[in-house]
C-alpha cells in the first residue's frame, strides 16, 4: 500500500519533470527562432539603402516610391528596436514588403537598370534576404505553434503554469499578396 503510493508519486514526479523540461526547451526554441528573424530583418534593413542608391539614378522620376520605401524601412527599424512585440514588427515589415513590391513593379519600366553592373548581385542579395526573412518567419511560426499546442494540451497544460508558459504570438500575415515571398526581379523579361 505505502509502496504503491510511493511508486505512483515517483511516476507522477518523473512525468512532471519531463513535461516541464519539454515546455522549457520549446520556449527557448521560440526565443531562439525569434532572434533569427531579428538577425535577418536587420540584414534586410541594411540592404535597402544600397538598393535605393543603386536604382536612384535610373528611377529618378519615381521619387515618391523611393521615399515610401525609405520611410517604411525607417519605421520597420524603429519597430524592431522598440521590440514592441510580434504584431507591431509584423505590421511594419508588412508595409515595407508592400513598398518594396511597388518599387520592383515600377522598376520594370526602366530597362537601363539592367545595364548597371552590380544590379545582378544586388538582385541575388535581395532575393536571398527576402527568402531568409520568409524562412525565419516560417520556422518561428512552426516552433511557436508546437509550443502553443504543447502548453494547451491535456495533461501538459497542468504544468504550463509551473513552467511560466504563455502562448507565443504568431507572425500573422494579413495581406494575401504578402503571403508569397516577393518576386525580386530587376531584370526585365
Amino acid at each position: 500500500m505505502g509502496l504503491g503510493l510511493l511508486f505512483a508519486l515517483v511516476v507522477i514526479g518523473l512525468w512532471v519533470m519531463t513535461a516541464y523540461n519539454r515546455l522549457i526547451a520549446l520556449k527557448n526554441q521560440v526565443a531562439n527562432s525569434w532572434k533569427q528573424i531579428d538577425v535577418q530583418l536587420k540584414r534586410r534593413h541594411d540592404l535597402i539603402p544600397n538598393l535605393v542608391s543603386a536604382v536612384k539614378g535610373a528611377m529618378d522620376f519615381e521619387k515618391s516610391t523611393l521615399e515610401a520605401v525609405i520611410s517604411a524601412r525607417n519605421r520597420a527599424v524603429t519597430a524592431s528596436a522598440a521590440s514592441g512585440g510580434v504584431a507591431q514588427v509584423a505590421k511594419a515589415e508588412g508595409e515595407l514588403t508592400q513598398a518594396l513590391g511597388r518599387l520592383f513593379a515600377l522598376s520594370e519600366n526602366y530597362p537601363q537598370l539592367k545595364a548597371t553592373a552590380n544590379i545582378q548581385q544586388l538582385q541575388e542579395e535581395l532575393t536571398t534576404t527576402e527568402n531568409k526573412v520568409g524562412f525565419a518567419r516560417q520556422l518561428y511560426n512552426d516552433v511557436a505553434t508546437s509550443y502553443n499546442t504543447a502548453q494547451q494540451q491535456f495533461p501538459t497544460n497542468l504544468v504550463a503554469g509551473l513552467a511560466k508558459a504563455s502562448p507565443a504570438e504568431l507572425w500573422a500575415i494579413e495581406d494575401a499578396a504578402e503571403r508569397a515571398v516577393p518576386n525580386v526581379d530587376l531584370k526585365m523579361g
Binding site: 533569427q36 548581385q121 532575393t127 536571398t128 527568402n131 524562412f135 516560417q138 520556422l139 494575401a176
Partner: protein, 350 residues
C-alpha cells in the same frame, strides 16, 4: 512518407543504427579473424604421423586479435574522418569566399535552407563534375557538409537548387548523414578486407594446408578434418558474400530515406514542384557522375551510376537500386503540390 516517423524518432533510429552498424562491423571483423584462426587451428591440428613432421598447432589466435584491433581502428577513423574521406574521394573543394555568382547563389541558398530547417549552416563544397548531383555528409548537424557538382549549379534554377539543398538539409537534420557516411566508410573497408583476405587465402594458408596435409589426409583424425572443412567453407562464404551484403545493406537503408528527405525538404521550401522539376532535370542528365564512386552512391540525391537502376521499377530496382525510381519520387512530389493547392485554395475560397 513510407515511415511515418517524427523527427525525434528518425534521429533516434539513426543514432541506434549507427551504433549497431559499428558493433556489427567490429563483430564481423572479429569473426573473420578468429574464424580464420579456428580454421587454421583445426587444419594444423591432428595426430602426428610416425615419421611425419611434428604438427605445430596454430594455438594463438593472432589473426583474430589483429583483425579486431584493425576493425576498432577503422571505426574510430570512420567516425573521426569519414566525412573528410568521402569529400576527398570525390575531389570536392570547399567554398570559403565565392568566386562566381553561381557560388554566391549556392551559399545564399544553403544559408536560407539552414534557417528554414533551424540547423547551423553546413560547410559548402563543390565537386568538379559536369553531371548534376548533390550529397551531404557529416557525423552531426553541427559539423555537416553539403556538396554539389558544378553541373548541378549550371543546370538548375534558383528554386530548384533550393529544393535540392532542402533535401540535403533534411538528411542533415534527421542524422541520415551519420549512418550514410559510416556505411560508406565501412562498406569500403569491407570490400578492401575481403579482397585482401581472399588473396591471403589463395596464396598463403590454403597453399600451405594442401602441401603439408595433401598426402596424409586419410591418416588424420576423422573428427578434425570435416569440422575444419565446415568452418573453413563457412568462413570463406562470409568473406566472399560480405562486400555484396554490405552494399545491399547500404542501398536498402538509403532507399526509404530518399522519400522521407524529399518530404521533409518540401516542408522547408513549401515548394514541391521545384524539387520535382530539379529531379526531372537530374533524371534527364543520363551521363554518370564519374567522380562519385559506387561506395558513396547511397549518399547522393540521385543514383550517380547514370540512372540505369534508378529508372528501374519493380523487383530489380527494389533490391539493387540505391535510390527509389526518380519517376516515383516526382509523382509523389506532384501529389504533394496538388494537395497543397487544394488546401490553400479552399482556405482563400472560404
Amino acid at each position: 512518407m513510407t515511415e511515418p516517423q517524427n523527427l525525434f524518432e528518425q534521429q533516434e533510429s539513426n543514432r541506434r543504427r549507427s551504433f549497431w552498424l559499428t558493433v556489427g562491423f567490429v563483430l564481423f571483423f572479429a569473426w573473420v579473424g578468429f574464424g580464420g584462426d579456428l580454421a587454421w587451428y583445426l587444419m594444423s591440428r591432428g595426430p602426428a604421423e610416425p615419421g611425419g613432421p611434428v604438427p605445430s598447432p596454430h594455438t594463438i589466435p593472432l589473426v583474430g586479435f589483429v583483425a579486431t584491433l584493425l576493425a576498432g581502428g577503422i571505426c574510430w577513423y570512420s567516425w573521426k574522418q569519414g566525412p573528410d574521406r568521402v569529400l576527398w574521394a570525390t575531389g570536392a573543394k570547399e567554398i570559403f569566399e565565392p568566386t562566381s555568382d553561381a557560388e554566391q547563389r549556392l551559399i545564399n541558398v544553403v544559408e536560407e535552407m539552414a534557417i528554414a530547417s533551424g540547423q547551423p549552416r553546413p560547410r559548402i563544397f563543390v565537386v568538379p563534375d559536369s553531371d548534376p548531383n548533390a550529397f551531404a555528409t557529416g557525423i552531426d548537424p553541427a559539423h555537416a557538409c553539403v556538396a554539389v557538382t558544378e553541373g548541378l549549379l549550371r543546370t538548375l534554377g534558383r528554386d530548384q537548387l533550393q529544393g535540392v539543398i532542402a533535401h540535403e538539409m533534411a538528411h542533415v537534420q534527421n542524422l541520415d548523414i551519420r549512418l550514410m557516411t559510416l556505411l560508406a566508410a565501412m562498406v569500403g573497408a569491407i570490400a578492401l578486407m575481403s579482397d585482401g583476405m581472399g588473396r591471403l587465402v589463395r596464396y598463403g594458408n590454403v597453399g600451405r594446408f594442401s602441401s603439408s596435409g595433401g598426402g596424409s589426409g586419410s591418416s588424420r583424425g576423422k573428427g578434425g578434418m570435416p569440422l575444419a572443412l565446415v568452418v573453413l567453407v563457412f568462413w570463406l562464404i562470409t568473406l566472399l558474400l560480405a562486400p555484396l551484403v554490405s552494399r545491399l545493406l547500404a542501398m536498402a537503408v538509403s532507399r526509404k530515406r530518399e522519400y522521407l528527405a524529399d518530404a521533409t525538404g518540401v516542408q522547408f521550401t513549401r515548394n514541391p514542384l521545384a524539387l520535382a522539376g530539379a529531379l526531372e532535370k537530374l533524371e534527364a542528365a543520363a551521363e554518370p557522375t564519374h567522380t562519385i564512386t559506387r561506395g558513396a552512391a547511397h549518399l547522393c540525391i540521385v543514383d550517380p551510376s547514370g540512372g540505369a537502376l534508378s529508372a528501374q521499377e519493380g523487383a530489380v530496382g527494389d533490391i539493387f537500386g540505391s535510390h527509389p525510381p526518380i519517376r516515383q519520387r516526382i509523382i509523389r512530389l506532384k501529389g504533394m503540390a496538388y494537395q497543397w493547392a487544394k488546401q490553400t485554395g479552399a482556405q482563400t475560397g472560404a
